[in-house]
């Protein structure tokens, strides 16, 4: 039996504003993402990439059309269901949005504590492992203020990955990273796709990612204009 598609979108439309100021941000989007794939969303500024990402990530209410996320319909979904579903997702924001009063380790542990409680030692071990994979083993107890932009971004990535999410949504995840760190992150995301079946959708203009994406979706003026599979 084939794996259930983690995301299925049908005839999705979305608008911002009201009356004369009403503007269509997404128009008639239909697509299905396969489990374990790494999909890049590209397009010019204002093309609807971020809107589509936030709709798929239960961060915005679906106005028209259908999004099935992890077998749950998001159109008309309750706040409670959205909250439950978000726990199975990982978000990597362009602005890292780390909690300034928490250390790198504590920030990453927050990604675990949203789930059923684990023994403290297990949480620490998992968070340490995630940070080590991203080359931050020697920065566990640093506050974000004492980390560089790239290091903060890697902490944010570790926080998104540590809870073993089914889907990762990322917005320019490698923008603040140097060449080696970016390669590490892309390799990690690809490996999660093949080993755990983690699906990744990211907004990016980084050619280092586009070269390794399984699929590239191009949006223009809210419409899906190109859908390119890059790997067989």
């Amino acid at each position: 039996m084939p794996d259930q598609a983690p995301i299925e979108i049908k005839a999705l439309n979305h608008w911002f504003g009201t009356n004369e100021a009403r503007k269509q941000a997404l128009a008639d989007i239909t697509l299905t993402l396969t489990k374990g794939s790494l999909t890049a969303l590209v397009g010019p500024s204002g093309s609807g990439k971020t809107t589509l990402l936030t709709l798929m990530g239960c961060l915005r209410d679906v106005q028209d059309g259908s999004i099935r996320l992890l077998s749950h319909e998001l159109h008309g979904a309750s706040e409670s269901l959205s909250t439950q579903l978000r726990r199975r997702l990982g978000f990597i924001f362009q602005a890292h949005n780390l909690h300034g009063s928490l250390t790198a380790l504590q920030n990453v542990r927050m990604g675990l504590q949203v789930h059923d409680p684990l023994p403290s030692a297990t949480e620490t071990q998992a968070a340490t492992h995630a940070l080590s994979l991203l080359g931050l083993a020697d920065r566990l107890h640093y506050l974000p203020a004492n980390l560089s932009g790239g290091q903060k971004q890697r902490v944010a990535i570790a926080r998104a990955l540590v809870g073993n999410p089914a889907i990762i949504f990322a917005d320019e995840p490698t923008a603040a990273l140097d060449k080696d760190s970016a390669a590490t992150v892309i390799t990690l995301l690809k490996r999660l796709g093949t080993t755990r079946g983690t699906t990744t959708i990211l907004v990016t203009h980084d050619p280092r990612i586009l070269d390794r994406a399984d699929r590239i979706l191009t949006l223009e003026d809210g419409r899906l204009t190109h859908d390119t599979a890059t790997t067989p």
Binding site: L59, T83, R86, F91, F93, H99
Partner: protein, 257 residues
């Protein structure tokens, strides 16, 4: 006190509250049966043979005790047999409150109030706090203080929430429940309430001690007062926190991207 009362049997004699306001302590200490002090009261010469420990209040700067005969000579308009207060002594082991209740039930004249010493003190305190202008003014002062405290705490909390909106929005995006996020604000409110109480308690205790020394009023920080203020502080903090949580509505995880 009883041995000192014996000196009141002399006509035009009295004993003086040594904590009366404006009475120098060395002069009060000099008043002894061997070295009595003569004073003028309502154009009569009175001889003070001793002192006792009293203290000023809202009704007067101090007290003086005289016999009933001396009192009537000082205040001829007052009549013998019409006292303001009568002190009764109960047998050892008897409950004054029970005795007072029984006596009250036996006396038909309801204008005569029979109270235990404790009840009389409570009645006086209530009267001073709720009927006298000073008590009402102090009461308003407390209410205004609490309101100002709530406003300050709200400002601190709401500013903090506004400064960390992106972090709260991140919590929402990660799947943390609204209850968890509200809990953070309430926890902060409780911490501020507790941390605010501690220096407030120390300053208030010092002020009360200083005021008690300056006014001879029985002002002190009691355990019940501290507990009441602490509970009130937590309540005010919770109220401020509840109002500040309205700002959380602006924490939209969709804005994070």
């Amino acid at each position: 006190m009883v041995p000192k009362l014996a000196s009141l049997q002399l006509q035009d004699s009295g004993i003086l509250d040594r904590f009366s306001r404006g009475l120098p302590s060395e002069e009060a200490a000099a008043i002894r049966p061997q070295t009595p002090l003569k004073i003028e009261v309502t154009n009569k010469t009175l001889t003070l043979y001793d002192t006792f420990a009293g203290g000023g209040g809202f009704g007067g700067d101090g007290y003086m005790m005289v016999s009933d005969q001396t009192f009537l000579s000082l205040f001829p308009a007052r009549r013998s047999g019409a006292p303001d207060h009568i002190l009764l002594k109960v047998r050892p082991g008897a409950d004054p409150a029970v005795v007072a209740t029984r006596l009250q039930s036996l006396i038909s004249d309801k204008s005569l109030r029979i109270r235990s010493y404790t009840q009389a003190g409570t009645d006086e305190l209530s009267y001073q706090q709720t009927k006298r202008p000073t008590g009402i003014i102090f009461g308003f002062g407390v209410i205004i203080g609490v309101l100002v405290g709530i406003v300050i705490l709200y400002q601190v909390l709401s500013t903090d929430v506004a400064d960390h909106l992106s972090e709260y929005a991140t919590f929402k995006a990660m799947g943390y429940s609204q209850g968890f996020i509200l809990g953070i604000v309430f926890e902060q409110a409780a911490i501020l309430g507790i941390l605010g109480f501690l220096p407030g308690f120390i300053v208030a205790t010092a002020l009360l001690t200083g005021m008690a020394a300056a006014t001879t009023l029985p002002l002190m920080m009691t355990a019940s007062m501290a507990i009441m203020v602490f509970t009130g502080s937590l309540f005010a903090a919770a109220l401020s926190g509840a109002i500040a949580t309205r700002r959380l509505a602006a924490a939209d995880p969709a804005d994070l991207f």
